[in-house]
Protein backbone atom coordinates (compact mmCIF):
# COMPACT_ATOMS: atom_id res chain seq x y z
CA UNK A 1 0.00 0.00 0.00
CA UNK A 2 1.12 3.54 -0.55
CA UNK A 3 -0.14 7.04 0.03
CA UNK A 4 -0.90 8.75 -3.28
CA UNK A 5 -2.37 12.01 -2.15
CA UNK A 6 -2.86 13.81 1.14
CA UNK A 7 -5.06 16.85 1.64
CA UNK A 8 -4.21 18.85 4.72
CA UNK A 9 -6.65 21.34 6.19
CA UNK A 10 -5.53 23.25 9.28
CA UNK A 11 -3.74 20.34 10.94
CA UNK A 12 -1.12 21.88 13.28
CA UNK A 13 0.95 24.38 11.27
CA UNK A 14 0.44 22.63 7.93
CA UNK A 15 -2.27 25.02 6.70
CA UNK A 16 -4.08 24.19 3.46
CA UNK A 17 -2.05 21.95 1.15
CA UNK A 18 -2.61 19.09 -1.27
CA UNK A 19 0.39 16.82 -1.66
CA UNK A 20 1.07 14.12 -4.28
CA UNK A 21 3.38 11.44 -2.93
CA UNK A 22 5.69 9.41 -5.19
CA UNK A 23 5.14 5.63 -4.78
CA UNK A 24 8.70 5.06 -3.54
CA UNK A 25 8.35 7.82 -0.96
CA UNK A 26 9.94 11.12 -0.20
CA UNK A 27 12.52 12.77 2.05
CA UNK A 28 11.37 15.89 3.84
CA UNK A 29 14.23 18.18 4.70
CA UNK A 30 13.96 21.21 6.91
CA UNK A 31 15.15 22.86 10.09
CA UNK A 32 13.71 21.90 13.43
CA UNK A 33 10.27 23.22 14.42
CA UNK A 34 9.21 23.77 10.79
CA UNK A 35 6.60 20.99 10.89
CA UNK A 36 8.41 17.86 9.63
CA UNK A 37 7.07 15.65 12.41
CA UNK A 38 3.62 17.23 12.05
CA UNK A 39 3.42 15.85 8.53
CA UNK A 40 4.24 12.31 9.70
CA UNK A 41 1.79 12.78 12.54
CA UNK A 42 -0.91 13.69 10.00
CA UNK A 43 -0.22 10.61 7.89
CA UNK A 44 -0.19 8.27 10.88
CA UNK A 45 -3.38 9.87 12.21
CA UNK A 46 -5.22 8.11 9.38
CA UNK A 47 -4.02 4.78 10.79
CA UNK A 48 -4.77 5.15 14.51
CA UNK A 49 -7.08 8.21 14.55
CA UNK A 50 -4.90 9.76 17.20
CA UNK A 51 -1.53 11.47 17.49
CA UNK A 52 1.47 9.16 17.71
CA UNK A 53 3.06 11.83 19.87
CA UNK A 54 0.28 11.49 22.45
CA UNK A 55 -1.17 14.94 21.77
CA UNK A 56 -4.90 15.40 22.40
CA UNK A 57 -7.02 16.13 19.32
CA UNK A 58 -7.69 19.67 20.54
CA UNK A 59 -4.00 20.48 20.12
CA UNK A 60 -3.91 19.22 16.55
CA UNK A 61 -6.19 21.96 15.25
CA UNK A 62 -4.36 24.97 13.84
CA UNK A 63 -4.22 27.86 16.28
CA UNK A 64 -7.31 30.05 15.90
CA UNK A 65 -9.27 27.47 13.84
CA UNK A 66 -12.12 25.18 14.85
CA UNK A 67 -11.69 22.14 12.60
CA UNK A 68 -8.88 20.11 11.08
CA UNK A 69 -9.43 17.70 8.23
CA UNK A 70 -7.19 15.13 6.58
CA UNK A 71 -7.99 13.21 3.42
CA UNK A 72 -5.69 10.46 2.21
CA UNK A 73 -5.89 8.59 -1.08
CA UNK A 74 -4.38 5.15 -0.73
CA UNK A 75 -3.21 3.09 -3.65
CA UNK A 76 -2.85 -0.62 -3.26
CA UNK A 77 -3.42 -3.40 -5.70
CA UNK A 78 -5.23 -1.49 -8.41
CA UNK A 79 -7.96 0.43 -6.60
CA UNK A 80 -7.58 3.71 -4.78
CA UNK A 81 -9.31 4.18 -1.44
CA UNK A 82 -10.14 7.46 0.21
CA UNK A 83 -9.82 7.79 3.98
CA UNK A 84 -10.67 10.97 5.84
CA UNK A 85 -10.54 12.16 9.43
CA UNK A 86 -11.73 15.43 10.87
CA UNK A 87 -11.98 16.88 14.32
CA UNK A 88 -14.00 19.84 15.51
CA UNK A 89 -12.94 21.60 18.71
CA UNK A 90 -16.40 22.94 19.38
CA UNK A 91 -18.33 19.92 20.63
CA UNK A 92 -15.18 17.75 20.45
CA UNK A 93 -16.49 15.84 17.46
CA UNK A 94 -14.44 13.40 15.44
CA UNK A 95 -15.64 12.23 12.08
CA UNK A 96 -14.07 9.51 9.98
CA UNK A 97 -15.00 8.18 6.57
CA UNK A 98 -13.73 5.25 4.52
CA UNK A 99 -14.52 5.39 0.83
CA UNK A 100 -16.92 8.23 1.65
CA UNK A 101 -18.88 6.15 4.17
CA UNK A 102 -18.94 6.80 7.90
CA UNK A 103 -18.40 3.50 9.76
CA UNK A 104 -20.79 2.46 12.56
CA UNK A 105 -18.06 2.77 15.11
CA UNK A 106 -14.91 4.86 15.05
CA UNK A 107 -12.92 1.73 15.88
CA UNK A 108 -14.06 0.12 12.60
CA UNK A 109 -11.91 2.68 10.79
CA UNK A 110 -8.73 1.86 12.69
CA UNK A 111 -5.91 0.51 10.58
CA UNK A 112 -7.32 1.56 7.21
CA UNK A 113 -3.90 2.95 6.33
CA UNK A 114 -1.02 0.56 6.99
CA UNK A 115 1.93 2.45 8.42
CA UNK A 116 4.64 2.19 11.04
CA UNK A 117 6.36 5.20 12.63
CA UNK A 118 9.96 5.20 13.79
CA UNK A 119 10.68 8.14 16.06
CA UNK A 120 13.45 9.18 18.46
CA UNK A 121 10.96 9.00 21.33
CA UNK A 122 10.63 5.25 20.68
CA UNK A 123 13.51 4.81 23.13
CA UNK A 124 10.81 5.23 25.80
CA UNK A 125 9.57 1.76 24.82
CA UNK A 126 12.75 0.43 26.37
CA UNK A 127 13.69 2.98 29.03
CA UNK A 128 10.14 3.87 30.10
CA UNK A 129 7.88 2.03 32.54
CA UNK A 130 5.80 -1.10 31.88
CA UNK A 131 2.87 1.13 30.85
CA UNK A 132 4.81 2.31 27.78
CA UNK A 133 5.36 -1.28 26.64
CA UNK A 134 1.74 -2.24 27.32
CA UNK A 135 0.59 0.70 25.21
CA UNK A 136 2.88 -0.49 22.40
CA UNK A 137 1.32 -3.97 22.53
CA UNK A 138 -2.22 -2.63 22.83
CA UNK A 139 -1.98 -0.34 19.80
CA UNK A 140 -0.24 -3.01 17.75
CA UNK A 141 -2.68 -5.80 18.64
CA UNK A 142 -5.77 -3.56 18.37
CA UNK A 143 -4.76 -2.67 14.83
CA UNK A 144 -3.80 -6.14 13.74
CA UNK A 145 -5.88 -8.64 15.66
CA UNK A 146 -9.63 -8.86 15.36
CA UNK A 147 -11.45 -8.64 18.68
CA UNK A 148 -8.49 -7.42 20.73
CA UNK A 149 -9.66 -3.81 21.04
CA UNK A 150 -13.14 -4.85 22.14
CA UNK A 151 -11.71 -7.14 24.83
CA UNK A 152 -9.39 -4.37 25.97
CA UNK A 153 -12.19 -1.80 26.22
CA UNK A 154 -14.39 -4.22 28.17
CA UNK A 155 -11.50 -5.21 30.41
CA UNK A 156 -10.82 -1.58 31.32
CA UNK A 157 -14.50 -1.06 32.12
CA UNK A 158 -14.56 -4.11 34.40
CA UNK A 159 -11.36 -3.08 36.22
CA UNK A 160 -12.69 0.45 36.83
CA UNK A 161 -15.94 -0.92 38.28
CA UNK A 162 -14.26 -3.61 40.30
CA UNK A 163 -11.79 -1.10 41.74
CA UNK A 164 -14.62 1.24 42.72
CA UNK A 165 -16.18 -1.62 44.70
CA UNK A 166 -12.86 -2.51 46.34
CA UNK A 167 -12.14 1.10 47.27
CA UNK A 168 -15.63 1.34 48.73
CA UNK A 169 -15.09 -1.88 50.69
CA UNK A 170 -18.23 -3.44 49.22
CA UNK A 171 -19.53 -6.98 49.77
CA UNK A 172 -17.44 -9.87 48.46
CA UNK A 173 -20.35 -11.24 46.35
CA UNK A 174 -20.55 -7.94 44.53
CA UNK A 175 -16.85 -7.87 43.74
CA UNK A 176 -16.94 -11.52 42.70
CA UNK A 177 -19.76 -10.71 40.28
CA UNK A 178 -17.25 -8.74 38.22
CA UNK A 179 -14.62 -11.54 38.31
CA UNK A 180 -16.37 -13.36 35.49
CA UNK A 181 -15.98 -10.47 33.03
CA UNK A 182 -12.50 -9.67 34.35
CA UNK A 183 -11.28 -13.19 33.60
CA UNK A 184 -13.10 -13.56 30.29
CA UNK A 185 -11.68 -10.35 28.80
CA UNK A 186 -8.37 -10.41 30.66
CA UNK A 187 -7.48 -13.94 29.54
CA UNK A 188 -8.23 -13.01 25.95
CA UNK A 189 -5.83 -10.03 26.15
CA UNK A 190 -3.11 -12.03 27.87
CA UNK A 191 -3.26 -14.89 25.39
CA UNK A 192 -2.90 -12.45 22.48
CA UNK A 193 0.07 -10.75 24.10
CA UNK A 194 1.68 -14.06 25.02
CA UNK A 195 1.30 -15.46 21.50
CA UNK A 196 2.56 -12.29 19.85
CA UNK A 197 5.68 -12.24 22.00
CA UNK A 198 6.30 -15.97 21.60
CA UNK A 199 5.91 -15.74 17.82
CA UNK A 200 8.04 -12.62 17.47
CA UNK A 201 10.90 -13.19 19.88
CA UNK A 202 13.16 -14.60 17.21
CA UNK A 203 12.45 -11.73 14.86
CA UNK A 204 13.27 -9.28 17.65
CA UNK A 205 16.52 -11.08 18.35
CA UNK A 206 17.38 -11.10 14.64
CA UNK A 207 16.74 -7.38 14.15
CA UNK A 208 18.61 -6.43 17.30
CA UNK A 209 21.59 -8.51 16.31
CA UNK A 210 21.62 -7.16 12.75
CA UNK A 211 21.44 -3.49 13.74
CA UNK A 212 23.90 -3.77 16.62
CA UNK A 213 26.39 -5.71 14.52
CA UNK A 214 26.19 -9.07 16.24
CA UNK A 215 25.16 -8.41 19.85
CA UNK A 216 22.29 -10.30 21.33
CA UNK A 217 19.10 -9.32 23.14
CA UNK A 218 15.88 -11.11 23.99
CA UNK A 219 12.22 -10.33 24.47
CA UNK A 220 9.89 -12.19 26.81
CA UNK A 221 6.43 -11.83 28.31
CA UNK A 222 6.21 -11.02 31.99
CA UNK A 223 2.65 -11.30 33.25
CA UNK A 224 1.70 -10.23 36.78
CA UNK A 225 1.18 -13.84 37.87
CA UNK A 226 2.64 -17.23 36.91
CA UNK A 227 0.97 -18.57 33.78
CA UNK A 228 2.48 -22.05 33.84
CA UNK A 229 2.47 -23.93 30.54
CA UNK A 230 -0.44 -21.88 29.20
CA UNK A 231 -1.45 -23.07 25.77
CA UNK A 232 -5.13 -22.24 25.50
CA UNK A 233 -7.57 -19.55 26.53
CA UNK A 234 -8.87 -21.88 29.27
CA UNK A 235 -5.36 -22.37 30.67
CA UNK A 236 -4.85 -18.62 30.95
CA UNK A 237 -8.32 -18.13 32.44
CA UNK A 238 -7.68 -20.85 35.05
CA UNK A 239 -4.36 -19.30 36.08
CA UNK A 240 -5.98 -15.85 36.25
CA UNK A 241 -8.84 -17.19 38.39
CA UNK A 242 -6.33 -18.75 40.78
CA UNK A 243 -4.29 -15.55 40.96
CA UNK A 244 -7.39 -13.52 41.84
CA UNK A 245 -8.38 -16.02 44.51
CA UNK A 246 -4.97 -15.79 46.13
CA UNK A 247 -4.87 -11.98 46.15
CA UNK A 248 -8.28 -11.27 47.70
CA UNK A 249 -6.80 -9.87 50.92
CA UNK A 250 -4.18 -7.78 49.19
CA UNK A 251 -6.61 -6.16 46.76
CA UNK A 252 -8.89 -5.28 49.69
CA UNK A 253 -6.00 -3.58 51.45
CA UNK A 254 -4.81 -1.72 48.36
CA UNK A 255 -8.31 -0.93 47.12
CA UNK A 256 -7.68 -2.07 43.54
CA UNK A 257 -7.29 -5.15 41.35
CA UNK A 258 -3.64 -6.20 41.76
CA UNK A 259 -3.25 -8.93 39.13
CA UNK A 260 -4.16 -8.99 35.46
CA UNK A 261 -3.03 -7.71 32.08
CA UNK A 262 -3.10 -4.11 33.34
CA UNK A 263 0.02 -5.09 35.31
CA UNK A 264 1.82 -6.94 32.50
CA UNK A 265 5.27 -6.10 31.20
CA UNK A 266 7.50 -7.08 28.30
CA UNK A 267 11.02 -7.87 29.39
CA UNK A 268 13.82 -6.81 27.12
CA UNK A 269 17.18 -8.25 28.10
CA UNK A 270 20.75 -8.02 26.95
CA UNK A 271 22.66 -11.14 26.04
CA UNK A 272 21.25 -14.61 25.59
CA UNK A 273 18.06 -15.83 27.13
CA UNK A 274 18.56 -16.66 30.77
CA UNK A 275 20.99 -13.84 31.35
CA UNK A 276 19.45 -11.31 33.61
CA UNK A 277 20.59 -7.91 32.36
CA UNK A 278 17.55 -5.76 31.84
CA UNK A 279 18.02 -3.34 28.94
CA UNK A 280 16.06 -0.77 30.86
CA UNK A 281 18.53 -0.76 33.76
CA UNK A 282 21.79 -1.86 32.15
CA UNK A 283 21.52 -0.91 28.49
CA UNK A 284 23.55 1.97 27.06
CA UNK A 285 21.80 4.71 25.07
CA UNK A 286 22.77 3.00 21.82
CA UNK A 287 21.60 -0.41 23.01
CA UNK A 288 18.21 0.94 24.06
CA UNK A 289 17.71 2.77 20.80
CA UNK A 290 18.63 -0.40 18.92
CA UNK A 291 16.09 -2.42 20.90
CA UNK A 292 13.41 0.21 20.21
CA UNK A 293 14.20 0.07 16.49
CA UNK A 294 14.01 -3.72 16.61
CA UNK A 295 10.54 -3.52 18.21
CA UNK A 296 9.35 -1.23 15.41
CA UNK A 297 10.80 -3.56 12.78
CA UNK A 298 8.90 -6.43 14.39
CA UNK A 299 5.79 -4.24 14.31
CA UNK A 300 6.28 -3.63 10.58
CA UNK A 301 6.60 -7.36 10.02
CA UNK A 302 3.39 -7.97 12.00
CA UNK A 303 1.50 -5.44 9.85
CA UNK A 304 2.92 -7.01 6.69
CA UNK A 305 1.84 -10.51 7.74
CA UNK A 306 -1.55 -9.71 9.23
CA UNK A 307 -2.72 -7.42 6.43
CA UNK A 308 -0.77 -8.88 3.57
CA UNK A 309 0.67 -5.59 2.40
CA UNK A 310 3.77 -3.50 2.90
CA UNK A 311 3.26 -0.82 5.53
CA UNK A 312 4.26 2.75 4.74
CA UNK A 313 7.41 3.40 6.76
CA UNK A 314 7.55 6.80 8.44
CA UNK A 315 11.01 7.69 9.73
CA UNK A 316 11.01 10.73 11.98
CA UNK A 317 14.62 11.93 12.10
CA UNK A 318 15.69 8.53 13.41
CA UNK A 319 19.33 8.65 12.43
CA UNK A 320 20.08 11.77 14.47
CA UNK A 321 20.88 9.79 17.56
CA UNK A 322 22.25 6.57 16.09
CA UNK A 323 25.97 6.16 15.51
CA UNK A 324 27.34 5.70 12.00
CA UNK A 325 27.60 1.92 12.09
CA UNK A 326 24.07 1.36 13.40
CA UNK A 327 22.59 3.82 10.91
CA UNK A 328 24.27 2.02 8.00
CA UNK A 329 23.01 -1.35 9.18
CA UNK A 330 19.44 -0.08 9.65
CA UNK A 331 19.53 1.25 6.09
CA UNK A 332 20.84 -2.06 4.79
CA UNK A 333 18.10 -3.88 6.63
CA UNK A 334 15.40 -1.62 5.23
CA UNK A 335 16.67 -2.19 1.70
CA UNK A 336 16.56 -5.93 2.22
CA UNK A 337 13.15 -6.09 3.91
CA UNK A 338 11.48 -4.95 0.67
CA UNK A 339 10.07 -1.94 2.45
CA UNK A 340 7.27 -0.18 0.64
CA UNK A 341 6.86 3.56 0.56
CA UNK A 342 9.20 5.49 2.85
CA UNK A 343 8.51 8.99 4.14
CA UNK A 344 11.44 10.27 6.14
CA UNK A 345 12.35 13.56 7.74
CA UNK A 346 15.82 14.96 8.32
CA UNK A 347 17.26 18.35 9.22
CA UNK A 348 20.00 18.26 6.54
CA UNK A 349 20.41 16.80 3.06
CA UNK A 350 23.43 14.87 4.24
CA UNK A 351 21.21 12.86 6.60
CA UNK A 352 19.13 11.44 3.77
CA UNK A 353 20.72 8.16 2.86
CA UNK A 354 17.88 5.73 2.37
CA UNK A 355 17.68 4.16 -1.11
CA UNK A 356 21.14 5.42 -1.98
CA UNK A 357 19.98 9.01 -1.98
CA UNK A 358 17.41 8.27 -4.67
CA UNK A 359 14.37 9.55 -2.78
CA UNK A 360 12.89 12.80 -4.08
CA UNK A 361 13.45 15.73 -1.72
CA UNK A 362 10.84 18.12 -0.42
CA UNK A 363 11.71 21.24 1.59
CA UNK A 364 9.57 22.38 4.48
CA UNK A 365 9.47 25.83 6.04
CA UNK A 366 6.82 27.20 8.39
CA UNK A 367 4.70 24.18 7.62
CA UNK A 368 4.70 24.86 3.86
CA UNK A 369 6.10 22.15 1.64
CA UNK A 370 7.89 22.82 -1.62
CA UNK A 371 8.74 19.89 -3.86
Amino acid sequence: MHLQRLSLRRFRNLGVQDLEFPPEGVAIVGDNAQGKSNLLEAIYYLETLRSFRGAPDMQLVEFGSDVFRLVGHLGGTGVSVEVSAAFQKKGKRKKVTMGGVEPDRLSDALGSLSAVVFSPSDVELVSGGPGDRRRFLDILLSLNEHGYLLALQDYRKVVARRNALLKDDQAAELIAAFDHGLIRTGARIMLSRLRWIENRREAFCHYYSTVSGGSRASMSYRPSFALGPAGSLDDVADAFREAIASTRDRERRVGSTVVGPHRDDVRLRLGDEGEDLDLRDFGSGGQRRTAALALRMVEARTVRESRGEEPIVLLDDVFAELDEGRSERVLDLMEREETGQVVLTAPKDADVRVRSDSLPRWRIRDGMIAS
Partner: protein, 197 residues
Protein backbone atom coordinates in the same frame (compact mmCIF):
# COMPACT_ATOMS: atom_id res chain seq x y z
CA UNK B 1 -39.21 32.25 26.56
CA UNK B 2 -41.97 31.86 23.97
CA UNK B 3 -44.24 28.80 24.09
CA UNK B 4 -42.65 27.64 20.82
CA UNK B 5 -39.22 27.75 22.45
CA UNK B 6 -40.61 25.99 25.48
CA UNK B 7 -41.97 23.08 23.45
CA UNK B 8 -38.84 22.71 21.32
CA UNK B 9 -36.67 22.74 24.45
CA UNK B 10 -38.78 19.92 25.89
CA UNK B 11 -38.63 17.91 22.66
CA UNK B 12 -34.86 18.35 22.43
CA UNK B 13 -34.53 16.57 25.78
CA UNK B 14 -35.74 13.35 24.14
CA UNK B 15 -33.10 10.84 22.99
CA UNK B 16 -32.08 11.18 19.35
CA UNK B 17 -33.65 14.62 18.91
CA UNK B 18 -31.39 17.63 18.53
CA UNK B 19 -32.43 21.30 18.63
CA UNK B 20 -32.93 21.41 14.84
CA UNK B 21 -35.19 18.36 14.71
CA UNK B 22 -37.10 19.67 17.72
CA UNK B 23 -37.86 22.94 15.97
CA UNK B 24 -38.88 21.09 12.80
CA UNK B 25 -41.34 18.98 14.84
CA UNK B 26 -42.87 22.09 16.42
CA UNK B 27 -43.30 23.70 12.99
CA UNK B 28 -44.91 20.55 11.69
CA UNK B 29 -47.36 20.48 14.63
CA UNK B 30 -48.34 24.11 13.99
CA UNK B 31 -48.87 23.71 10.26
CA UNK B 32 -52.11 21.70 10.02
CA UNK B 33 -55.23 21.54 12.11
CA UNK B 34 -54.84 22.13 15.84
CA UNK B 35 -56.49 18.77 16.52
CA UNK B 36 -53.23 16.86 16.02
CA UNK B 37 -51.21 18.69 18.70
CA UNK B 38 -54.17 18.45 21.09
CA UNK B 39 -54.43 14.66 20.56
CA UNK B 40 -50.68 14.37 21.18
CA UNK B 41 -50.97 16.41 24.37
CA UNK B 42 -53.81 14.24 25.66
CA UNK B 43 -51.92 11.04 24.87
CA UNK B 44 -48.84 12.31 26.69
CA UNK B 45 -50.90 13.29 29.70
CA UNK B 46 -52.60 9.93 29.89
CA UNK B 47 -49.31 8.06 29.67
CA UNK B 48 -47.92 10.22 32.45
CA UNK B 49 -51.00 9.82 34.65
CA UNK B 50 -51.98 6.22 34.08
CA UNK B 51 -48.91 4.10 33.35
CA UNK B 52 -47.18 2.72 36.40
CA UNK B 53 -45.01 -0.23 37.39
CA UNK B 54 -46.70 -3.60 37.92
CA UNK B 55 -46.81 -4.39 41.65
CA UNK B 56 -45.42 -7.87 41.03
CA UNK B 57 -42.94 -7.65 38.18
CA UNK B 58 -42.31 -3.97 37.44
CA UNK B 59 -43.63 -4.14 33.86
CA UNK B 60 -45.67 -1.18 32.53
CA UNK B 61 -49.36 -1.35 33.36
CA UNK B 62 -52.42 0.80 33.86
CA UNK B 63 -53.62 -1.41 36.70
CA UNK B 64 -52.17 -2.84 39.90
CA UNK B 65 -50.76 -5.79 37.99
CA UNK B 66 -49.72 -6.09 34.36
CA UNK B 67 -51.45 -8.20 31.73
CA UNK B 68 -48.69 -10.82 31.81
CA UNK B 69 -48.99 -11.33 35.57
CA UNK B 70 -52.80 -11.62 35.56
CA UNK B 71 -52.94 -13.96 32.55
CA UNK B 72 -53.73 -17.46 33.94
CA UNK B 73 -52.33 -19.11 30.80
CA UNK B 74 -48.78 -17.85 31.46
CA UNK B 75 -46.35 -20.40 32.84
CA UNK B 76 -45.57 -19.22 36.40
CA UNK B 77 -42.69 -21.67 36.78
CA UNK B 78 -40.42 -19.57 34.51
CA UNK B 79 -39.34 -16.01 35.25
CA UNK B 80 -37.38 -13.94 32.74
CA UNK B 81 -35.34 -11.13 34.31
CA UNK B 82 -34.76 -7.99 32.21
CA UNK B 83 -33.14 -4.65 32.97
CA UNK B 84 -35.85 -2.29 31.72
CA UNK B 85 -39.63 -2.53 31.28
CA UNK B 86 -39.27 -1.74 27.56
CA UNK B 87 -37.47 -5.02 27.10
CA UNK B 88 -40.58 -6.96 28.17
CA UNK B 89 -42.24 -5.65 25.01
CA UNK B 90 -39.27 -6.74 22.87
CA UNK B 91 -39.53 -10.32 24.16
CA UNK B 92 -43.35 -10.37 24.03
CA UNK B 93 -43.30 -9.41 20.36
CA UNK B 94 -41.39 -12.59 19.50
CA UNK B 95 -44.45 -14.59 20.63
CA UNK B 96 -42.06 -17.35 21.75
CA UNK B 97 -42.10 -16.85 25.49
CA UNK B 98 -44.87 -18.12 27.79
CA UNK B 99 -43.44 -17.42 31.26
CA UNK B 100 -43.48 -14.38 33.56
CA UNK B 101 -41.13 -11.40 33.82
CA UNK B 102 -39.23 -9.43 36.40
CA UNK B 103 -37.92 -5.91 35.71
CA UNK B 104 -34.74 -4.96 37.61
CA UNK B 105 -34.83 -1.27 36.77
CA UNK B 106 -31.19 -1.19 35.59
CA UNK B 107 -27.96 -3.08 36.22
CA UNK B 108 -25.15 -3.06 38.78
CA UNK B 109 -23.24 0.16 38.12
CA UNK B 110 -20.60 0.76 40.80
CA UNK B 111 -19.40 4.00 39.21
CA UNK B 112 -22.92 5.44 39.46
CA UNK B 113 -23.55 4.09 42.95
CA UNK B 114 -26.08 1.51 41.75
CA UNK B 115 -25.93 -1.66 43.85
CA UNK B 116 -28.46 -4.46 44.52
CA UNK B 117 -30.44 -2.18 46.87
CA UNK B 118 -31.04 0.32 44.10
CA UNK B 119 -32.46 -2.43 41.86
CA UNK B 120 -35.55 -4.64 42.24
CA UNK B 121 -33.46 -7.56 43.48
CA UNK B 122 -35.09 -8.13 46.88
CA UNK B 123 -38.53 -8.35 45.25
CA UNK B 124 -37.20 -10.90 42.73
CA UNK B 125 -35.73 -13.09 45.47
CA UNK B 126 -38.98 -12.68 47.46
CA UNK B 127 -41.03 -13.87 44.49
CA UNK B 128 -38.92 -16.98 44.08
CA UNK B 129 -38.96 -17.72 47.81
CA UNK B 130 -42.72 -17.20 48.16
CA UNK B 131 -43.38 -19.54 45.26
CA UNK B 132 -41.92 -22.34 47.42
CA UNK B 133 -40.36 -24.28 44.60
CA UNK B 134 -42.99 -23.14 42.12
CA UNK B 135 -40.31 -21.31 40.09
CA UNK B 136 -38.25 -23.91 38.23
CA UNK B 137 -36.24 -21.66 35.98
CA UNK B 138 -34.98 -18.10 36.00
CA UNK B 139 -33.75 -16.74 32.67
CA UNK B 140 -31.35 -13.85 33.07
CA UNK B 141 -31.81 -11.57 30.06
CA UNK B 142 -29.63 -8.71 31.22
CA UNK B 143 -27.72 -6.79 28.53
CA UNK B 144 -24.49 -8.14 27.07
CA UNK B 145 -22.47 -5.24 28.54
CA UNK B 146 -19.87 -5.87 31.27
CA UNK B 147 -22.34 -4.52 33.81
CA UNK B 148 -25.18 -6.68 32.51
CA UNK B 149 -22.86 -9.68 32.72
CA UNK B 150 -21.88 -8.86 36.34
CA UNK B 151 -25.55 -8.41 37.24
CA UNK B 152 -26.34 -11.85 35.85
CA UNK B 153 -23.44 -13.46 37.73
CA UNK B 154 -24.54 -11.78 40.96
CA UNK B 155 -28.17 -12.89 40.59
CA UNK B 156 -27.15 -16.42 39.71
CA UNK B 157 -25.21 -16.71 42.99
CA UNK B 158 -28.29 -15.51 44.89
CA UNK B 159 -30.88 -17.61 43.09
CA UNK B 160 -29.19 -20.98 42.66
CA UNK B 161 -29.22 -21.83 46.43
CA UNK B 162 -33.01 -21.36 46.31
CA UNK B 163 -33.32 -24.39 44.05
CA UNK B 164 -34.27 -22.80 40.73
CA UNK B 165 -32.39 -23.52 37.52
CA UNK B 166 -30.64 -20.40 36.24
CA UNK B 167 -29.96 -19.79 32.56
CA UNK B 168 -28.54 -16.93 30.54
CA UNK B 169 -29.62 -15.86 27.07
CA UNK B 170 -27.47 -17.50 24.41
CA UNK B 171 -24.85 -15.45 22.64
CA UNK B 172 -26.02 -13.97 19.39
CA UNK B 173 -27.26 -10.82 21.02
CA UNK B 174 -24.62 -8.30 19.95
CA UNK B 175 -22.28 -7.28 22.76
CA UNK B 176 -23.22 -4.05 24.44
CA UNK B 177 -26.64 -3.83 22.82
CA UNK B 178 -29.88 -3.26 24.67
CA UNK B 179 -32.56 -5.86 24.13
CA UNK B 180 -35.09 -3.29 22.98
CA UNK B 181 -33.03 -2.56 19.86
CA UNK B 182 -32.40 -6.18 18.91
CA UNK B 183 -34.67 -7.72 16.29
CA UNK B 184 -37.26 -10.30 17.27
CA UNK B 185 -35.76 -13.29 15.46
CA UNK B 186 -32.43 -12.79 17.24
CA UNK B 187 -34.16 -12.61 20.62
CA UNK B 188 -36.22 -15.71 19.85
CA UNK B 189 -33.07 -17.63 18.89
CA UNK B 190 -31.28 -16.42 22.02
CA UNK B 191 -34.21 -17.59 24.15
CA UNK B 192 -34.30 -20.99 22.49
CA UNK B 193 -30.54 -21.42 22.88
CA UNK B 194 -30.30 -20.22 26.47
CA UNK B 195 -27.72 -22.01 28.54
CA UNK B 196 -27.62 -22.96 32.15
CA UNK B 197 -25.01 -20.92 34.01
Amino acid sequence: MSVIDQLSTELARLPGIGPKTALRLVHHLLKGSREQPRRLARALEEVADRVRACRVCGNFTEHEECEVCVNPRRDASIVCVVEEAFEVGAIERTGQYRGLFHVLGGHLAPLDGVGPNELNVASLLGRIRDARGGVNEVILATNASVEGEATAVYLEEMIRPMGARVSRLARGIPVGSDLEYVDGTTIAEALAGRREM
